[in-house]
């Protein structure tokens, strides 16, 4: 067993010194930030363009409602017929024409307002206009009924239900958002990690086969030890790369946002939640976030994140390694990749749809016990509070399966690495288990 550190060291160093690995390590954050900056830039371009809308208000009810803003300019047309207005709007570079006809009562009005434009207007613009018209008509109707706007304002009451668990912990919408973010990020991170570095392990196994070095190695080292060494070595290389990515992305993000003045959180769900949740200054928001973070089961979260991340990754890594051992070249891996990817994708779907909808439903619970989906699903559930005994059972199942899987993978590995030239079928691989 004293070979294990030696193998881990070799695997780690070869990976880390590999040119394409180094390039990817330093290039990826730049690409990531580049795309991010591009998207931010493009969306700012989009919102910079000024919408021009001409208005023909025959009813005269909306005279003071259309106030031009930096994003939208309204041009009020006076004393022209609809036909003339259309023609004018078309020739000038104006996005559309809103026509409000003169009617006897407000009910008819709502049915007859028409928006003319060359092509379909954007949904957001239409809902803006509709909202504005609706508000005005509502006010007018209330006035008709004898209620003035002052009374309406005074009668309006904002309701925000307080959320509290049975144990008396306060919960909030903000908290739920944070939990979603934590769980989602953890699950997604694991998913990405498995796909990227699982493949790396598989390639390194195949490389040993194609370079025919395997029989030399295997005459000095037990296949199981070699397999474990490969998995651990590659994992360490992966963690190194991941950490460099995180640091670089954070640094670059800070640089980019401060240089270009882009708000990185703009438009993200968390920002919206923050905006919706509290009235008051930024100070207050930050304070609330910190409070919510403290409310999360942090220790539990971190410990379980590590356990599930390691367990889940190792489980899939041994699968990837046995696929690598079974085939001769990367092109032959396709038929064996599906059964690996299916449970993984299933886990992410269950995580993002079912767990977010109902973290403690039956489906969520079942999938957080199945070892092939539990790492992702359970990681997403934990922020919402999962009893410790459930977590422990799940971890035990996961690691038990991992040990079984290493045994299984080592068997395939032991036979497969010495098989050259033919593409194995599932039936043959099943036979190998009995050799």
């Amino acid at each position: 067993m004293n070979h294990l550190p030696l193998i881990i060291k070799r695997e780690y160093l070869t990976k880390v010194r590999n040119k394409s690995f180094i390039i990817m390590t330093f290039l990826t954050p730049f690409i990531f930030i580049g795309i991010f900056a591009l998207v931010a830039y493009l969306s700012s371009l989009n919102s910079d363009t000024v919408r021009k809308i001409s208005i023909l208000d025959d009813s005269g009810l909306f005279a003071n409602e259309f106030n031009s803003s930096p994003h939208t300019q309204y041009k009020i047309l006076h004393k022209v017929s609809l036909e003339e207005a259309k023609k004018e709007t078309e020739t000038e570079e104006i996005n559309g024409l809103l026509y409000i006809p003169k009617t006897e009562n407000l009910e008819d009005l709502s049915k007859e307002i028409t928006f003319y434009s060359e092509d379909s207007p954007s949904l957001s613009m239409m809902s803006d206009i509709n909202d504005m018209l609706e508000r005005k008509v509502n006010t007018l109707k209330l006035k008709e009924a004898g209620i003035d706007s002052e009374t309406i304002k005074n009668l309006h009451i904002d309701i925000r239900a307080n959320q509290e668990t049975f144990k008396g912990k306060e919960t909030s919408k903000l908290g739920s958002g944070l939990k979603l973010a934590f769980g989602g990020a953890a699950g997604y991170l694991l998913f990405m990690f498995i796909i990227i570095y699982g493949n790396m392990i598989m390639r390194s196994v195949i490389e040993e086969k194609t370079s025919r070095v395997i029989e030399v190695i295997i005459s000095s080292v037990k296949p199981r030890v070699l397999l474990l060494g490969k998995i651990f070595g590659t994992t360490l290389a992966g963690i190194t790369q991941f950490l460099i990515w995180v640091v670089l992305i954070l640094v670059l993000m800070t640089v980019v946002t401060s240089v270009f003045g882009i708000d990185p959180a703009a438009g993200s769900p968390s920002q919206q939640i923050i905006e919706n949740s509290v009235d008051g200054g930024t100070q207050q928001i930050l304070h609330d976030i910190m409070l919510e973070v403290n409310n999360l089961p942090l220790t539990n979260l971190i410990v379980m994140f590590i356990l599930f991340f390691v367990g889940g990754y190792l489980l899939y890594a041994s699968l990837y390694a046995s696929v690598g051992a079974a085939v001769d070249s990367e092109t032959d891996t396709q038929q064996f990749m599906m059964p690996i990817l299916m449970p993984l994708i299933l886990a992410v779907y269950v995580g993002f749809f079912t767990v977010m909808d109902n973290p403690h439903g039956t489906v969520s619970q079942v999938f957080s016990y199945i070892p092939f989906t539990s790492p992702v699903v359970m990681l997403m559930r934990i922020p919402f509070g999962v009893p410790i005994w459930q977590q422990i059972i799940s971890v035990v199942i996961l690691f038990g399966t991992f040990i079984g899987m290493v045994w299984f993978a080592a068997k395939i590995y032991r036979v497969g690495i010495l098989m050259y030239g033919k593409k194995p079928t599932y039936k043959e691989i099943f036979k190998w288990l009995k050799y």
Binding site: H3, L6, I7, R10, T14, N18, E207, E208, S211, R212, V213, E215, V216, I217, I218, S219, S220, V221, K222, R414, L418, Y420, K431, K434, Y435
Partner: protein, 308 residues
């Protein structure tokens, strides 16, 4: 003679295919043992069992008096037929790694590598990557790595493939030298002339069974056919040929000679002693050439395989 390796009744089945059927061999200490057989006979399976890469279904392997155990790998040096090195790793690093896997300390490995690299004059390859070397060069590195930890038992599977004649000779001499220094060698090859030159003992495996085993010289005796190659200067070629053919089985033969003579291979029955045969020949003319035809390893190989 003391036995270094004893394989007792080993069988191995892969699915429906029997790769080895009750095979036993004994390898004497300090000898070169030739493991022969056609492709797919089961040689590689046997070698892998000795290397503990696969386990036998039945039977046992005893190395130096002890049943084979995991720690024995450091006493064995194995050069597989399907061999290669990590292409992107540097020669020196790689050799150190492989030596350490065989249980050498880094320092020890470095010293021995320096010795071998100087000896084979490949010292300046240390920092090259394997992919920059030619096949023959890589094979040399592979050879060094195999013998570096001074194993008691060396197993070479087709050690000369990929070498030019000069380097093949160099490696052959190194193997003989290692044997002289006390190592035991198991040698699997299809090149019969090297079997002839090097092996003390051979075993022939065919269709999973051992069909021939013994000292090369004993096997040759066993396969001798009392055939003699003769050259005879006579005045009457036709008459002598006729009388030879009457008494013995005669086959045509050609060998280099400066005489104008009759050249034949003659099979002498057991009832006639060699002396009588020589006397008979000298009575017929002037005997210029008389050699017993010794079966070559290649002849034995082909004959035995065909018989089975």
């Amino acid at each position: 003679m003391e036995k270094l390796l004893v394989v007792n009744n080993v069988s191995k089945v892969y699915g429906d295919y029997k790769a080895l059927n009750n095979v036993s061999i004994e390898v004497e200490k300090g000898s070169i043992f030739g493991l022969l057989g056609p492709n797919g006979a089961g040689k590689t399976t046997l070698i892998r069992i000795i290397n503990q890469i696969t386990m036998p279904d039945t039977g046992s392997v005893i190395l130096d008096g002890e049943p084979l155990q995991p720690h024995h790998i450091k006493y064995i040096g194995y050069l597989p037929e399907e061999r290669g090195l990590y292409k992107t790793m540097k020669v020196g690093e790689q050799a150190l790694y492989l030596a350490q896997l065989k249980g050498l300390s880094k320092q020890e490995a470095k010293e021995r590598l320096k010795y071998w690299f100087d000896r084979l004059q490949i010292g300046d390859w240390w920092d090259k990557k394997i992919q920059e070397l030619s096949k023959g060069m890589a094979q040399k590195i592979q050879f060094v790595v195999t013998v570096l930890h001074k194993p008691k038992l060396l197993i070479f599977d087709e050690p000369f493939s990929g070498f030019d004649p000069i380097n093949a000779n160099l490696i052959k001499d190194e193997i003989l030298k290692l044997r002289d220094e006390g190592a035991t060698v198991i040698f699997s090859t299809h090149r019969m002339e090297s079997v002839e030159e090097m092996c003390d003992h051979i075993a022939l495996i065919h269709k999973s069974n051992k069909i021939l085993d013994g000292k090369l010289i004993d096997i040759k005796r066993q396969y001798r056919s009392n055939m003699f190659e003769i050259g005879l200067i006579t005045t009457n070629h036709a008459a002598i040929t006729a009388s030879l053919k009457e008494k013995f089985e005669v086959f045509p033969a050609t060998f280099k000679s400066i005489n104008d003579e009759l050249q034949y291979k003659v099979k002498v029955p057991d009832s006639v002693s060699t002396n009588d045969f020589v006397n008979y020949l000298t009575s017929q003319g002037q005997l210029t050439h008389f050699v017993e035809v010794i079966p070559s390893a290649s002849d034995i190989f082909i004959e035995t395989i065909q018989k089975n």
